[in-house]
């Protein structure tokens, strides 16, 4: 019953958590029962964060109905929020940086020193939209980690055997500054709450296995659309500076993952807030796989090197790579380990979503051709067939599709399609699937050894219905209809898509 506490710092943290949620929805192997995501971001209104929050909230609802004891793997891993909150509640929410440091109350000499250290723009920076690429500000503001109750709920919940993982980017503001501060706080003994008492279980937190991924530059931003201080020309310099500081993290982290991409995409330039909505990127998916690698029981001996006193002997450093440096790549270009991890889950969950009628279509919006995920009635096999097929009889008819958990499941399926589509739009395109085809079988790109049932009399979606009708009798009859639905579709997609390398 151990848990993994995943701290996602800044916008990248939120996006990697989104990719992790997608992987868990699809049912990747996850050697831990519960994941507790905790986002640390001053910019709580940014779109990336709100999209991740909605996704996780929907996931939690679907997870409640997902069978845990059958063959099913969709939504099997539990996601739990600390006190129902995704974001760590930072006590100080001062808007302007100069107010935060109390510049106006300083003596003239100190004010002069502050004016030398920080530019006028920096001092007037509105921190409710993050640190806008200024780790120097972040390192000051986030220092409140160790002087109040922000970790009280976390410490209360923490048990022996639980693990910690930190996601941060190194080239922005919040992530670059937040990671070393957070790591230091988590390993500082005897942190006290506002009541003066040492936080409960803090000794366990100090000794917990801890992994981290540091995301190096993988995108740049275009010309600013507002008064943003973010400048992607400084990304590499900031990365270099931060990496030299991160040397001091050696032997303080069990496993430290690095990831970057030289073929960067250019994102619209917003300082934060509701407009900060970046498309999903394969780097975020790979970063999410790093989390799964860290908790992989088979890799424990490689990832964690501790002595008898549970002190870290050496830090394991890992990087992620693809087999060919191509601008467009698919499953063929991933290593065997990665293929084994993600092909089956992603393809199976996509097949499930396609059966429910979702696909990508080209739409003309204001004279501009856009790719949109939509439900196409012609492709909605469930809607067409559920009245006729034995698997649905008396179970999945009537208002079944209007049930809350099923609606949330379908919402995640739409988001899953969007997530795949967004990864295709990057300069480094990850195109594992043909998202346009209505085929039930021929939708996985690349030359993969996927064992699929072949029946001379069955074609396309009839294969899926044939399997659904065959599997329905093998499912535990005590399951509620919604749970049965997920179990059934997992079993069927497992029969239809079976990658072996």
């Amino acid at each position: 019953m151990s848990k993994l506490y995943v701290f996602g710092i800044g916008g990248t943290g939120a996006r990697v958590l989104k990719s992790l949620t997608m992987l868990l929805a699809a049912g990747v192997d996850c050697d831990i029962e519960t994941i507790v995501p905790i986002i640390i971001d001053r910019d709580i209104s940014n779109k990336d964060l709100s999209r991740t929050r909605l996704l996780i909230e929907d996931y939690i609802i679907v997870n409640k109905i997902a069978p845990k004891n059958g063959r099913n793997r969709f939504f099997k891993t539990r996601i739990e929020l600390l006190n129902g909150e995704l974001c760590l509640q930072l006590k100080d929410n001062t808007q302007k940086f100069d107010d935060f440091i109390g510049r106006t109350t300083m003596c003239r000499e100190n004010q002069a020193l502050v004016d030398i250290l920080f530019s006028k723009e920096t001092l007037k920076l509105d921190m409710t939209e993050g640190f806008q690429g200024n780790p120097n500000i972040g390192s000051i503001v986030l220092n409140q980690f160790d002087d109040n109750d922000v970790f009280k709920n976390f410490a209360n919940d923490f048990k022996d055997g639980d693990k910690i993982f930190i996601i941060s980017s190194i080239f922005g503001g919040t992530g670059a500054s937040g990671f070393p501060l957070l790591r230091r706080t988590l390993q500082t003994p005897n942190i006290k709450g506002t009541d003066g008492q040492v936080l409960p279980n803090w000794g366990l937190v100090n000794k917990a296995q801890i992994g981290s991924i540091t995301v190096l530059p993988y995108f740049v931003v275009g010309n600013p659309t507002d008064e943003s201080l973010i400048n992607s020309d400084t990304f590499i310099d900031k990365t270099r500076a931060a990496l030299s500081y991160y040397k001091t993290e050696d032997k303080k982290i069990d496993t430290l993952f690095y990831i970057a991409d030289k073929l960067t995409s250019t994102y619209p330039h917003h300082k934060g807030g509701d407009l900060q909505k970046n498309d999903a990127h394969f780097v975020e998916l790979a970063a999410a796989m790093a989390i799964l690698d860290f908790i992989n029981i088979d890799k424990l001996n490689k990832n964690v090197h501790r002595n008898r006193d549970n002190i870290i002997d050496s830090t394991t450093y890992k990087e992620f790579g693809i087999r060919s440096n191509l601008a467009e790549f698919n499953f063929d270009h991933l290593t065997d380990t990665t293929k084994r991890l993600i092909i089956n889950p992603l393809a199976r969950f996509l097949l499930f979503a396609k059966y429910m009628g979702y696909s990508v279509a080209k739409e003309d919006i204001d004279g501009k051709e856009e790719l949109l995920v939509e439900k196409n009635n012609n492709n909605d096999i469930f809607n067409k067939e559920h009245r006729h097929q034995p698997y649905a009889r008396k179970r999945f008819i009537g208002d079944f599709r209007q049930k809350n958990a099923i609606q949330k499941l379908e919402t995640i399926q739409v988001r899953f399609f969007e997530w795949l589509l967004e990864m295709e739009k990057q300069n480094r395109k990850f195109t594992p699937f043909n998202l346009f085809t209505s085929s039930a079988i021929e939708f996985i790109n690349g030359h993969l050894n996927i064992i699929q049932p072949r029946a001379f009399n069955l074609k396309n979606w009839a294969i899926v219905d044939h399997e659904l009708n065959g599997q329905t009798g093998k499912i535990d009859k005590s399951l509620e209809n919604e749970s049965r639905f997920i179990e059934l579709f997992y079993r069927v997609t497992e029969k239809i898509i079976n990658y072996k390398n």
């Binding site: 006729h388 097929q389 009889r393 009399n457 219905d465 044939h466 009708n469 065959g470």
Partner: protein, 160 residues
């Protein structure tokens, strides 16, 4: 079996019925082969074969996820019925044309042996075929409800 066919005797006529029961004009008793049993057995077997095929044969139009609508079942029933219709009609018309039906059943004759009236016509053979159609359809329905429950794709056809 003949009793079942005789539910439709008003269609194909009593005399053709008597012939099929095995009535012999020579012996004045039912000493010939009871054709109802033969034709009925064929109807039972053909409807059974079609039912088994519909529910269990892994071919398009049979045990297939796209063939489990009620009208697919009805088409197979009609097919089975038509084959039985042709067998019933073919059997009787063959006997009719070859003179296998006893004279006492075919005609009413006066004391001089002249035909006063014909008792069995070709249309009676058609109507017997129609009776076979109905009876085989009944068998088809009965077989369907006995055997459909183990079918993978069609177990709720014709009624969901």
């Amino acid at each position: 079996m003949g009793t079942i066919y005789c539910w439709f005797e008003s269609l194909f006529g009593q005399n053709l019925g008597e012939y099929l029961w095995g009535y012999s004009c020579d012996t004045q008793v039912y000493s010939n082969k009871n054709l109802f049993n033969s034709i009925g057995l064929i109807a039972i077997l053909i409807s059974l074969i079609f039912v088994l095929a519909y529910y269990y044969l892994p071919l398009k139009f049979f045990n297939h996820p796209r063939s489990n609508r009620w009208w697919n079942w009805l088409i197979i029933l009609l097919l089975s019925g038509i084959i039985n219709f042709l067998i019933g009609y073919g059997w009787t018309i063959n006997d009719f044309l070859n003179g296998n039906i006893g004279d006492c059943l075919m005609y009413t004759r006066d004391s001089d042996g002249n035909i006063v009236s014909q008792l069995i016509y070709k249309k009676d053979c058609w109507l017997f075929g129609l009776s076979c159609f109905f009876i085989s359809s009944m068998f088809f329905i009965v077989w369907s409800y006995i055997l459909k429950w183990w079918s993978r794709n069609c177990r709720h056809s014709p009624i969901f």
